[in-house]
Amino acid sequence: MSLNIVNNATCTFCGCVCDDIELHADEERIIEAKKACVLGKAWFLNHTAERLYPEALIDGKEATVDEAVEFAAELLDAATTPLVYGMSNITCEAQREAVGLAERLGGVVDSHTSL
């Protein structure tokens, strides 16, 4: 199996966002995370590329992403004041989309900063 080595990978587990991690990975999982702290190691080694969860759930039942996206849009559009919350463990690109969505919905957008 070929080993993929990523130099200067970025850890997003905590606010320090260390950007000098050396990752060794095969197709499915990260085997080593050099220079990461205990928390960072656990973060990198715990997430794999396996299919461990259903792609989507609607009311607890398995569904396709297409169905889930459509239903999510319906629920959010039907609401008077929907809340978009969290935003900490996602990329800036995803955050940008989320703010745009909240604006269109006429809702609220908020992050962990408010805690």
């Binding site: 990523v6 990978a9 970025t10 997003t12 905590c14 606010g15 320090c16 966002v17 990752l23 990975a25 990260i30 990198f44 794999t48 969860y53 259903p54 989507a56 609607i58 607890g60 992403v65 996206v69 459509e70 239903f71 999510a72 629920l75 959010l76 559009d77 039907a78 609401a79 008077t80 004041t81 929907p82 978009v84 919350y85 969290g86 935003m87 900490s88 463990n89 996602i90 990329t91 800036c92 690109e93 995803a94 955050q95 940008r96 989309e97 989320a98 703010v99 745009g100 969505l101 909240a102 269109r104 919905l105 006429g106 609220v108 957008v109 908020d110 962990h112 900063t113 408010s114 805690l115």
Partner: protein
């Protein structure tokens, strides 16, 4: 390093001076410091209430003024205890006022990965860092009114989209109860506590591990993410964009509202 806390923590060993203040007196301490910085007289009885002496506080002020570059690092002990946002605001004001003497900044300590990015992105798009309400068609900012825990506990929102967070595991129970009552949609690499009380869960790629993009470090330095794995799941960015596109196909509530208002005239 000067450490201010209500109890002796492990960080005391790393600090040069430890100031132990009474619980819930953060605002009072900061306000007295602000007065001392401006060489205003302070009331002895008010100093006593804080658990510190006037000498300790004056010494602290002298050190801050003498520093070439000072930083306040503050955490939830300040922003989540009595006074809440007002404590944070007071500290930011103190940092601003110290700039009449030297360079001083205040920086929140961050627990979660890219929460700094959330601040930066929201500031860029709306002018405000968090707790933003678009209900009038333009952004309004008011922590305490539009911050999540307050909104949920009061029951002021009627749907929720949760991204990169697990409030179902961490928030106060009344907030969790409201999330379970309203239709909640949750995007996460794992099926979480929040997913279980949600009507919709969509599994997404893990940020920085199998999802590429940008993340901000606590001191607002943007860093590229270099994912080592390929996920079988879509990224948060892709899913949010698709939800946004699906919503855009529906009639725009704001234009409808405007039309109704015009018809009434």
């Amino acid at each position: 390093m000067v450490l201010v806390d209500i109890r002796e923590t492990k960080s005391v060993k790393a600090s040069d001076i430890f100031l132990q203040i009474r619980p819930g007196k953060d605002f009072e301490v900061i306000t007295i410091l602000r007065a001392l910085v401006k060489e205003q007289p302070v009331d002895e009885s008010q100093v006593q209430e804080t658990g510190l002496t006037l000498e300790q506080l004056q010494d602290f002020v002298d050190r801050m003024k003498k520093a070439k570059f000072g930083v306040f690092f503050f955490g939830m002990g300040l922003s989540m205890t009595r006074g809440k946002h007002m404590n944070s605001a007071a500290l930011l004001t103190l940092a601003a006022e110290l700039n009449a003497f030297t360079k001083f900044v205040a920086m929140p300590m961050r627990g979660h990965g890219n929460v700094t990015g959330a601040d930066v992105i929201m500031r860029w798009q709306t002018g405000y860092p968090f707790a933003i309400q678009f209900g009038r068609g333009y952004p309004r900012y008011n922590p305490g009114e539009f911050s999540t825990v307050d909104l949920l506990v009061r029951g002021d929102v009627d749907a929720a989209l949760i991204l990169g967070a697990d409030p179902g595991a961490t928030m106060p129970q009344p907030a969790i109860d409201h999330l379970a009552r309203i239709p909640t949609i949750c995007l996460d690499p794992k099926v979480t506590h929040t997913s279980r009380l949600s009507r919709v869960h969509i599994t997404t790629a893990a940020t920085g591990i199998s999802a590429p993009g940008t993340g901000y470090r606590m001191d607002e330095v943007p860093l590229p993410l270099r994912p080592a794995l390929k996920s079988p799941y879509p990224t948060d960015e892709q899913v949010v964009r698709r939800i946004h596109e699906a919503v855009l196909k529906k009639p725009d509530w704001l234009q409808q509202g405007n039309r109704m208002a015009l018809n009434q005239v």
